[in-house]
């Protein structure tokens, strides 16, 4: 971004903070309903320095990373099969759409029952929520590979494997990474929802703690801020990978 662009981003953020502070001052809301921004900032810093947030964040991060890896990995394989086989698409797509249409919130207690309150249940939920956008993006990407390039590959006697690695994957990559951008932010949602349904540790647990037993609304806001920053960081990580892989075309 240019300097001007950074300045405008900073200006919008400053306006947001001022509006927040203004709302607190004008309405006189008590801090346990809406704490002012400086109090949230202070709590954010202390919660990080006294080690309140870090262990919860690392738990959530592991759930998100594993869930994303499993979900996106399966989605690449299934998405490819959906794109290349009409039979697979006909047989599988009703289940995929049904799984996507069922709210993850409704499934979370079931998974907690099946897989317990440990890591496994969260990984399953994250994988499930990541699966659909990545599978659809893979299917669309593979289908959009230019048939003329595939004919070129055939005229050069490319093997099935060479077609996959030199034509289909590079051509579908922008679409696949677009699906992963969506998927990685959803993975954070999946992890938090899974933690709500039952867990020992994680940012979702910390929100519940801050709201219920600790009655610490500023800590709740600090946790929300951490979750938002985690989502942004993961999203940016996918974009960096995208720049590397897709780059100038």
């Amino acid at each position: 971004m240019t300097r001007g662009a950074w300045l405008s981003v900073g200006a919008v953020f400053a306006v947001f903070l001022l509006a927040w502070k203004g709302l607190v001052v004008v309405t006189g809301l008590r801090p346990f309903i809406l704490p002012p921004p400086e109090e949230v900032a202070g709590r954010f810093v202390t919660a990080w320095t006294d080690g309140t947030i870090a262990p919860h964040l690392s738990t959530t991060l592991v759930e998100v990373a594993l869930g994303f890896a499993v979900g996106a990995g399966l989605a690449l394989i299934v998405g490819y099969a959906l794109a290349r086989s009409a039979v697979v698409e006909r047989l599988l797509s009703p289940y995929l759409v049904a799984a996507q249409a069922t709210p993850i919130l409704a499934l979370a207690p079931l998974f907690a029952l099946w897989f317990g309150s440990g890591l496994l249940g969260k990984v399953v939920i994250c994988a499930l929520i990541v699966f659909f956008p990545v599978a659809v993006a893979t299917m669309v990407g593979i289908r959009s590979v230019d048939a003329r390039l595939l004919e070129l590959g055939r005229s050069l006697r490319a093997t099935r494997r060479q077609v996959l690695t030199t034509l289909e994957i590079p051509a579908a990559l922008p679409s696949i990474l677009g699906g992963m951008r969506v998927g990685v932010t959803l993975a954070v949602v999946g992890a938090i929802v899974g933690e709500w349904a039952g867990a020992e540790r994680g940012l979702g647990v910390l929100i519940n703690l801050a709201r219920g037993s600790l009655f610490d609304t500023p800590l709740m806001f600090a946790t929300l801020l951490t979750i938002a920053l985690l989502g942004i960081a993961l999203y940016l990580a996918v974009i960096v990978i995208e720049r590397r892989l897709v780059g100038a075309r």
């Binding site: 003329r148 390039l149 004919e151 070129l152 590959g153 055939r154 005229s155 050069l156 006697r157 490319a158 093997t159 060479q162 030199t166 034509l167 590079p170 051509a171 990559l173 897709v246 100038a248 075309r249």
Partner: protein
């Protein structure tokens, strides 16, 4: 006569023989749409043939049969006396559009066939250097992506790629049709220089009568679909040819002859008039086929 004649007499490699080639596309209704009708053609190794005909007459299909991308329904295509069973490294194919891989650099596009064939990197680099010289590619664009290249440069890259495996036969499907007229003439002449050095057989599909005459030893005229060879006209121009050769009297008489075989009534109409005649003839023919 031409440089190709003595080469052919010595049974040069890259000789093509098409005998009784039939090809039909299956249609949705289950009927077959005949595209090629017992095509007979003998192409000596090292010669240049131009294929010309109305739109949709099966020129590109014929080229794909020779390239081994489509299997004929009857008859066979022979390369050096052996039937062509599928895509063959001895046959290089350049399409109407460059068909470069947009995510690869110029150099990696040119050497793509070598990579698929499993050549080690050092040999690929070596071959790249000679290909770049052969097609006159500017060496400063080696790292550029196709989107950064001009149309003419892209077509040069495609030509270099088609020549990468040192094919005996080069099949060109209207390769310069997207270029402006002046660039196209220049490319035609460069193609001739390239042919003199690379000694390949060239079969070029074209819509342009002047281009066919400038480039080819023989101009083969196909009928409207289903395509049959209706004329095989020798171009009696000495080689090496230059653009000035297009002013010779023999060019206009050859051109008249080609036009007459394309079915143009006054033998002076534009190419689209031929297209119209072809469409009329086609619909008449398909009605007959439906009736039978």
């Amino acid at each position: 006569m031409s440089v190709a004649a003595p080469r052919a007499a010595l049974q040069a490699p890259g000789a093509l023989r098409l005998s009784g080639l039939d090809f039909a596309f299956p249609t949705r209704s289950g009927a077959r749409l005949p595209v090629l009708d017992s095509v007979e053609l003998d192409i000596p190794g090292g010669s240049i043939i131009a294929l010309i005909g109305p739109n949709g007459c099966g020129k590109s299909t014929l080229l794909r049969v020779v390239a081994g991308l489509l299997a004929p329904n009857a008859g066979e295509a022979l390369l050096d006396g052996v039937p062509i069973a599928g895509p063959d490294p001895r046959i290089g194919l350049a399409f109407q559009e460059p068909r470069l891989l947009p995510w690869r650099s110029t150099a990696d596009n040119v050497t793509y066939p070598l990579e698929l064939a499993g050549w080690p990197a050092a040999r690929r680099t070596e071959r790249l250097a000679s290909l770049v010289g052969l097609v006159g590619l500017d060496s400063t664009v080696m790292a550029s992506r196709p989107s950064e290249l001009s149309g003419g440069t892209r077509q040069r890259v495609a030509l270099a790629r088609a020549l990468a495996m040192e094919p005996e036969v080069l099949l060109l499907d209207e390769p310069f049709s997207a270029l402006d007229a002046l660039t196209r003439e220049r490319f035609d002449l460069e193609l001739l220089r390239l042919w003199e050095r690379a000694a390949t057989t060239i079969v070029m599909v074209t819509h342009s009568i002047p281009e066919a005459i400038l480039v080819a030893d023989r101009v083969v005229v196909l009928s409207p679909r289903p395509g049959r060879v209706v004329a095989d006209i020798a171009v009696d121009l000495p080689r090496p040819r230059t653009i000035a050769d297009l002013d010779q009297a023999v060019v206009s008489s050859t051109s008249r002859e080609i036009r007459a075989h394309l079915g143009d009534p006054d033998a002076a109409g534009e190419v689209f008039a031929n297209g119209h005649a072809a469409a009329t003839a086609l619909s008449a023919r398909s009605r007959e086929e439906l009736a039978s």
